[in-house]
Amino acid sequence: MKVITDTILKVRRSIMAPSTDWDEIKRLAADFQKAQLSSTSQRLSERNCIEIVTKLIELKLLDVIFTTDGKEYLTSQQLVKEIRDELYVHGGRINTVDLAKELNVDLNQINTSVSEIIKGKEVQLVSGYLIASYYLEKIAREINEKLQLQGQITVGELTLQYDLPADLLQHSVLEKYLGKIIIGKQDASEPRTFYTEEYITRTKAKIKGALTGLLKPTPVTVIVNHCNMAERLFMMLFDQLCAPGVLTGRQAGALYVPSCYTKSQNDWVVNFFKQNNYLEYDAISRLGISDPKGYVKRTLTNKDLTFLSTCVIGSQIKQHLETALEECISSKSYLDVVSLLPSVLSSTDIENILESLLKNNTKSTILFDNTVFSNNYIEQLKQNCLPMVQKKAENIVKSGQYQQFHLERQISRSAEMTQHSHVDHKAERREERRRKAASGKGGGGTQGRETKTKAVKKHQRSKQIANDSDSDESSNVIKKTQAELEIVSVDDVENKIRVTLENEGLDDLVTQVAEFLQKSLNQTALEIAKVTAEKLLQDASQNRKQTHTTAQDKINILVNDIKLFEKGLKLLPPDQQSNFIKYLLKSLGGDVLAEFCKYAANQCNLSLQVDTLTVEQRNKIIHDLSDEYKKPLSALNAVLSEQNIESFYVAVDASLAVCGMILKKVDKKKDKLLIQNHREKLISELENCDDPALSLHIAVLAIFTIVTQNMLHASGRLVPAITLYLKSHVKEEQFQQLQTCQELVTKYLTAADEQKTELEEKLRNTLPILKEMVQEIKKQK
């Protein structure tokens, strides 16, 4: 080093001359050297330091804590102090984790220090937070402010706000400072809630206002929501208030019922009842009353009430009904119950009322739907129908339907009888046997296997009953005819009574009433029919007797006449007799046959509408007759067309035998009288006759009778033959007159229309002559 400085000095000297700058350079160089040679400051690197400290700690010569980044060391006392400082800086509350971060110290170290810190009473560790007492005081103050502001505060709310356990808040803050810092009241029933006195009063006022304002039942929840308060508080305060109403319960779903509402309910019910004398359950429940029946019972005590399915009615209505009913009975009219009862009553209710009402009056009334008819009224209606019924019954008997029905029923019944007689018989025998076996058991007849056979019988009977009942209630005509003949139909009755009922405005009941009436009317009709039928039957048997004799008489007369006519006819020339016989059989013989037919038809219950029978009708009847009559009568019919009078007599005899008749012996005297009568009849007929042809006919017959003292039965066509016969018995001029007259008649009958009047004129002129001539001939005899 010395050497160097020497050289520097040398250099400095040698360069001194040119300029001072070089000196400076030298100086600088020297400085540079100095700088280079100056001892280097002996520094320990960080690494070394750390190593050394670690070593010391290892050797337990040093008790320090190092920060997490390892750059700083601190003693535990320092840490405690720093923690306290941090706590203060953070206002008395800090998270240990935050502390570790903030102080850059391992959390474990912090925790150990913290445990030391909390040994004192000032600070406590709550769920990772270090909390100083002054922090709690601060919170208490804040809470108080909030409480004064809100009026009410809950621990729950605070827990959220301060993120502190409820217990801590409850005990260490609220309860501790209550009355000191926090001015308020703890809810007795819910210690987690605190109020200010003011708030309580305010809430009370609110509730009172709300309750006073309410007019109808309101759920408590609604009130609570509206007033914005806890339901529990409401419940608590409700007791302290003298609320104008009641709560239905203490539970959540309770209802507040204002007393004014209850009162108005009551009023309405009482008034309505007073006014209308009935109460509808629906209306009551619409008012919000859940148990209408019970409510009515409670409200309207000491009233005579009748509870029905949908409503309650008072005694007044009943009385009203009763009087109306009495009046209806006494006035023999009807009573529409519906018009007297409140419209709300259901049909079953009406029925119930009527049932109780009519209990006493069942005999004098009949109920249709909801209309009570007095029996008298119904009777009146029935009377109206009776003529119709009478007519119908008679008609049905006359038409023979009734008899036919009975006949059918008899047939079917007899068929049934024969069908079941066998079974019955068997069953009976069995039963007998069983009875013997189980003697003393008496009525136990329906036990055991034998029941089966018996059941058949029973079943049949029950079936019949069922049929009967069926026919009673249904209008099924087919079924009805099986059991009973329906003479009067429901329609008939309906038509009859419709007008009457419609005038009363009861058209809707027509069918019902008609059905009711129809039953009895039909019965009546059946009775009438029965009576009529019996009477008819009696008449018929009487008639039959009569007809027997009359027919016999008639036939006797006719046969007698025929015999007389035959006698007369035998006077005529034989070649002309056959014509006369033919006519005689055709006319009088036909009459005889007709009489037989009539009688036989009567016997066979064939109906005859007419008195005189045509040939066709006769044939038909003969065809319809039963065999015993059919044979002789058809024989007689056959004989008529023959011209043999003897065979006619034979046939007549046969027929008479069948009919149980006899021919009376011919009385000669009587015959004479008969002939005389016949003559007189002819003459008088002639007197009254205007028709020329007929006059001639009668005149000829009369003259024949007078002349021969015999009767003759002839047709107009046979007149010329008779005239010819008379030629020998009358005077010439008389015969001439007859001849001309006859010619004129023949001409007249065959003439054309224009000549007729002329010929008629001529004939009319001959009439008096004819009559005179007959008188003349009579006198001559």
């Binding site: 300029s19 160089a29 540079f32 280079q36 002996q42 690197s45």
Partner: protein, 169 residues
Amino acid sequence: MVDESTRKTLSSIPLLQTKAGPRDKELWVNRLKEEYQALIKYVQNNKAADNDWFRLESDKTGTKWFGKCWYVHNLLKYEFDLEFDIPITYPTTAPELALPGLDGKTAKMYRGGKICLTDHFKPLWARNVPKFGIAHAMALGLGPWLAVEIPDLIEKGAITYQEKTEEAK
């Protein structure tokens, strides 16, 4: 680029102002002054940072510089001779630092022991003419070169620890 610590060291070396080579009589003096000031500062910095790593001195004209530099590896100090001339075109051309003791031992070296500087040294120097001086060249050139090459050379066995250097110190 230069690493962070180098940059830091570099920034603490005062920058030069005079642009003058050895030929510019008056101005060279000024320049030399500034060079010395910078070197002093740099050495002071190094010492303060317990990072002293070279000794340097020049002839009286300040154109020839020589000295020693060392590198501590595995708690052993390896010392090398250092010499260089100020080129005529200085400061436009950077001085060529040479470690004659290591000549032929490494590829990163020109003939005569001149070290091969990193690619970015030259442009960096060129950009900073005339602000950079010898101190900068040391910090930017030789320092990093030693840090890279010496451990490598020791590993290869090209250089071995010599007790002598310990004595010299």
